[in-house]
């Protein structure tokens, strides 16, 4: 019963978080790769509600700016590795 209640509270919290969430765009392809609420808290960024496998990195800049940098998101391509026989 306690677990059931906790799951319901978590689901409700996630539903509220998703109302305020942002679309995440792949910095390489420009495609939408997920949706999450990003919260800076105690020196970290908390990512809430994300359901996809997403990488995070500072985005390379075409214009040098000292006052601002961007953190962007990207996803790996679909796995398509060749068969590689053992040596």
């Amino acid at each position: 019963m306690k677990n059931f209640l906790l799951l319901k509270i978590r689901a409700l919290g996630l539903a509220v978080a998703r109302l305020f969430a942002s679309d995440l765009t792949d910095v390489r392809t420009g495609e939408k790769i997920g949706r999450a609420l990003l919260l800076p808290w105690r020196g970290k960024i908390h990512v809430i509600g994300l359901e996809e496998a997403v990488k995070v990195a500072f985005v390379p800049q075409t214009r040098l700016t000292f006052w601002k940098q961007e953190i962007g998101f990207s996803a790996h391509p679909v796995p398509d590795f060749p068969h590689e026989p053992r040596p």
């Binding site: 496998a53 790996h76 391509p77 679909v78 796995p79 398509d80 590795f81 068969h83 590689e84 040596p87």
Partner: protein, 250 residues
Amino acid sequence: MSRVLNAVLTHVPPGEIARSVAWWSHVAPADSLLIVHGGPEAEFGAIQSANKVHVPAARLRTTDHPRERQSYTEAYAAVSEWMCGRDFSHVYFAEFDHVPLVADLNERLLGRLAAERADMLCHGLRRVDDTGWHHYLYHCQDPRFHRHWETASVREDRRVVLSMLGTGAFWTRQAFDAVARGREPFPMYHEIYLPTLAHHLGYRVRGMADGEHWVSNLGDFRGRIRKARNEGAWTIHPVKSLAGLRWGGG
């Protein structure tokens, strides 16, 4: 000549297993179906199937599968051992609630495997290294995790980690046996461990591609079999009980 073994992993009571066996009889002859039993040993004798093996592995019987790092390693090893001396060329390994919807499933899987030039096909395949994927983050807090693939891989890029939905996967016999021979150096969740091991052993792992939205880790699709079949799905997951369902109906 290809011959597919359909290995169905189950822990449900013998009556429910009998329904699975009857359902699978529309897909494969009895000698190509193996019941892989992970339930109570006392129930093993009551299972009505031509072929069956019991797997008494504690890490198969988890309740919170990702957190307890559920393992199929012992189940794969049992299937591989059972196949010794038998002429199967491929293995379709499915959980009991991953249900086939087409009679020619094995032929379709063989065709897809050939078209992809793959050694293994699975659902929900994705590359997850250096991402926020929950299962990956849970594993890479252990420094042994990436270190293991550094030493175990034949690949140039040894950081690659793959994840799949572990409910149903189609293998060449060679790849299946090679993965079944592997021994987990420390506990890893099978949805991460199996595709990553296959990849680092040099095998080509690809996604099933079709009907992916009818294979989910959540819910119960019991009442939606007809719709899934009409939309062209080959299989469906999860269907927790086949009671009252009939092949071709739904």
